[in-house]
């Protein structure tokens, strides 16, 4: 048998039809098994790669590299002119789903809350909610999309981040690459690319359905950024800062895409 097989693979041998069939079948299945073996090897290799610098988990570095490549590809079609679809106020639902309470510790004192904006040179603005309410107000009714896959048409209002930047002369800061936001207790934190936070539908939001934000929705001030999944809509903003490197991001450290852009 082995003689018969090895004879088939002698280069100068003239093969009969039967021999050709056996030879081709052996070589073709050999390559198919090599291919499947390669797939299994590649799969195991990926799963054994070190996790990206995440603190408590995250995903394997090669996967993260592709997600970052995806950002490079898809941020090319990002435009300020691409607006999320808006709806009439009547379409907004009343029972808004609060999906998490990260960073909204019970020891929060609304009376002492201030918004801290750390400027490029290190000096910090400390603002009250009334300071923000003096700026032009923008309403938005849009389909809020959670990364889990559900969505709700909801009605929010506040000041456009781009208006806020203009009003406080944060042009130098807005020339940087990223914005970081943190809750007052620093339990929850997100990083957002500058183009997305300056998108005309991104607002520092203080109203839900025409009333002040409920506690569970991040009173007194939260981010509404329709070009991102809900994980980036940080509730109860305590601190805003600017950076050329990616600010830490709670869910990215847990394996989610940093960009999470829609």
């Amino acid at each position: 048998m082995s003689n018969f097989v090895s004879n088939l693979f002698k280069s100068n041998k003239k093969l009969t039809v039967d021999e050709y069939i056996v030879k081709k079948t052996i070589t073709s299945f050999f390559f198919l098994f090599i291919f499947f073996g390669g797939c299994i090897w590649a799969w195991k290799w990926v799963r054994h790669q070190p996790l990206d610098g995440g603190i408590r988990g995250g995903i394997q570095q090669p996967l993260r590299d592709v997600l970052n490549t995806n950002e490079a590809v898809f941020s090319k079609i990002f435009s300020k002119k691409h607006l999320t679809k808006t709806y009439p106020v009547s379409a907004a639902i009343k029972n808004v789903r609060p999906n998490g309470n990260l960073g909204m510790g019970n020891d929060f004192d609304p009376a002492t809350w201030q918004l801290y904006v750390i400027k490029k040179k290190g000096d910090t603005l400390a603002l009250k909610l009334d300071d923000l309410k003096k700026l032009p107000k923008t309403d938005i009714v849009f389909n809020f999309k959670c990364i889990e896959g559900w969505n709700q048409i909801t009605h929010w209002a506040g000041v456009k981040f781009s208006d806020f930047v203009k009003a406080y002369g944060l042009n130098e800061e807005a020339a940087m690459k990223y914005v970081g936001l943190m809750t007052p207790d620093e339990e929850y934190y997100v990083g957002i690319d500058m183009a997305s936070i300056l998108h005309p539908q991104t607002i520092l939001c203080y109203e839900l359905n025409g009333a002040p934000l409920p506690m569970r929705e991040g009173y007194p001030l939260r981010l509404i950024i329709p070009v991102k999944y809900g994980i980036k809509h940080l509730k109860r903003i305590g601190t805003i800062y600017f950076d050329n490197n990616r600010p830490p991001d709670y869910w990215a450290e847990r394996g989610y895409d940093y960009y999470s852009g829609l």
Partner: protein, 254 residues
């Protein structure tokens, strides 16, 4: 007597076998994502016939609480699915293979005959070239489904930047439903495909690996010449002087 009949070009065999694990990873990672908001079911009124999916199903495949992992794999392997699919379509166009794959005017009628034949209701086998009419329809439909998955996938992935696409598919929710339904379609296709491959037998399956089918040529249709081995006169070889009697009939020396 056997004959080799070339059936599947090498490129198509590669596209086919690459697609198999890639689609597998896409469906698996899609399940990890779907679990986080598993709202689909089939039923009427308050009655649920099928829930996508029962808890036992999730547990059997270790689906729960892996959304981030699912999204990571989904958005990595989407590229392989996309490029493999694009190359396959381009190849079938430029090689002319599309002629065997696209349904033609007769296909719809013939596909019915194929179905009846496969269910053993009809005895005679409908005519076919490389693929029968039902295969033409199925293999073209699966490509349209693939394009549908990519487009609805993009509509869910970038519903703001590609808002027009989301709108075409009836909005964000509908895009997600179509994307999910297409996946169910793949699973059904896969099951029928496997059953058909088993029924079609080894020769057909091997063709997807080796590229050829072995065709038996009917014995009566060709004259087979018996192979005759000319006896070599040993005497000639050994240069033994020959007598007249044993000329041409030499025996091997003892």
């Amino acid at each position: 007597m056997k004959k080799i009949d070339k059936k599947h070009p090498l490129a198509i065999r590669w596209f086919h076998w690459i697609n198999f694990p890639v689609l597998g990873v896409m469906i698996w990672s899609g399940l990890l994502i779907y679990w986080a908001n598993d709202v689909y079911k089939v039923g009427f009124g308050d009655k649920t016939l099928i829930k996508f999916f029962p808890q036992s199903f999730y547990e059997a495949f270790h689906i729960p609480f892996r959304l981030a992992e699912g999204m990571a794999y989904h958005f990595v392997f989407m590229w392989l699915f996309f490029f493999n699919g694009i190359l396959y379509v381009l190849y079938t166009i430029f090689s002319g293979e599309w002629r065997y794959l696209l349904p033609n005017r007769r296909s719809w009628k013939e596909a019915w005959q194929v179905l009846l034949h496969d269910l053993h209701i009809r005895k005679t086998k409908p005519p076919q070239e490389k693929y029968n009419a039902a295969q033409r329809i199925a293999y073209t439909a699966i490509i349209i489904m693939g394009i549908g998955s990519i487009l609805t996938g993009l509509a869910i992935y970038k519903p703001v930047q590609l808002g027009w696409l989301t709108l075409i598919f009836g909005g964000y929710k509908m895009s997600r439903i179509i994307h999910f339904a297409l996946t169910i379609g793949y699973v059904l296709f896969f099951l029928i495909h496997i059953i058909q491959v088993i029924f079609a037998g080894w020769n057909n399956f091997r063709a997807m690996v080796t590229g050829f089918e072995v065709v038996k040529i009917k014995e009566e249709s060709i004259q087979i010449e018996p192979i005759e081995i000319e006896p070599v006169p040993v005497a000639e070889v050994l240069e033994i002087p020959q007598t007249d009697d044993d000329k041409g009939h030499g025996e091997a020396p003892q």
